[in-house]
């Protein structure tokens, strides 16, 4: 079940021989965990890169009294906490536990840096991964910066529409609700309102924008 190394995002675009060559010139460990075992504890110093090559894990935050707060599942292939290896705060903000049998490749920071030197593509991949994550977070945060749900939806719709009047929604209302951080019927309600105000025509995933200007206007309130 172990994924091939060329599928690991960090080694994307590299030939198998190239990766094997690279891996033979640095030190790293392979670690295996059984389902249910603790992989890293919240607060532990993050001085190594963990690449999940097999299995599924879950990250959760624990409050001072030991209650778990927030959960995020991750599946191979995945790099864990790449932002915490180099950032100012280099402690894991979450505990990570194996959900299934899980395998990791573990690189110390120095060895990772050495790989960057030896192979510019690996560096480029790492930069791309971490940048994409920042972009993803940034985009998600943008939605929260709008004042009302109507503004969020309006912004989303103008973005999805691009220059077209008619288009199909990529996401379900459920997914949009999650993206906007609201309940599902609230999204539906906004669509209903926009319909009644004659700004869009929506029937399931088929959207026609009837008044582009008004829609853009709504982004501001």
């Amino acid at each position: 079940m172990e994924i091939p190394v060329t599928n690991i995002p960090l080694f994307k675009g590299c030939a198998l021989a190239e990766v094997e060559d690279l891996l033979s010139s640095v030190v790293f460990q392979r670690k295996k965990f059984t389902a249910g075992s603790l992989i890293v504890s919240q607060g532990e110093v993050c001085d190594r890169l963990l690449i999940l090559t097999e299995g599924k894990v879950v990250g959760e935050m624990t409050s001072p009294t030991g209650k778990s707060l927030k959960i995020e599942e991750m599946e191979a292939p995945m790099v864990l906490a790449s932002a915490f290896l180099f950032g100012k705060q280099n402690k894991f903000p979450v505990s990570v536990t194996a959900l299934t049998h899980a395998s990791f490749m573990v690189f110390q920071r120095n060895d990772l840096m050495k790989m960057f030197r030896l192979n510019p593509r690996v560096l480029s991949n790492f930069l791309s991964m971490i940048s994409s994550r920042a972009q993803f977070l940034s985009e998600k945060l943008r939605f929260h910066s709008f004042k009302s749900l109507k503004a969020k939806v309006a912004f989303y719709l103008t973005g999805e529409a691009g220059t077209q009047k008619k288009f199909k929604l990529k996401h379900s209302q459920e997914e949009m609700a999650e993206l906007f951080g609201v309940a599902r019927p609230s999204v539906g309600r906004i669509f209903l309102q926009l319909q009644n105000e004659n700004i869009i025509d929506i029937r399931y995933k088929n959207v026609t924008i009837k008044n582009f200007d008004k829609l853009a206007e709504l982004c501001n309130h």
Copy 2:
């Protein structure tokens, strides 16, 4: 008014001679803009790193009909859009305009990569910058992931308290309101509720936590 190169985050920890040596071995441009002029347009391809070395600029998004949506001010020394040079989506998401007279150093991606090769500290600084940004965004987003304002405040308070029972708030209610993405009186209202429920004692910035368990409990709802 131009800041010294050793103050630029990208060159932090480097000696002046070291930076000058480095800069002499790569190609880069210095660009100056007068107040009010457009520096980059939204949607423009981001293939270069912009380091603001003097002045103040503003980033704003424009909707399809040309209304400006969101504003973020930036002051020297500052690196612009570092996440967009390497991420998947490498177009500027905002337009940037000079607020005052502004100076930049401009590096093409290849030259930046060359500097990474020549000087590991520069690479390390860049990784740190971009990682810290991801961390910052992540932290900010965490607050939005709580269901209610009460949960956000409870989480914030447990974090600020650490292991102490009595402490002083670092932020004003205004700042907290901004962090949580709500109106200022809403924050005050929650404090009032927590007070009435005998969970905390708060008088202006002086907080005493009277029931740690209940506070932790609240983080979950």
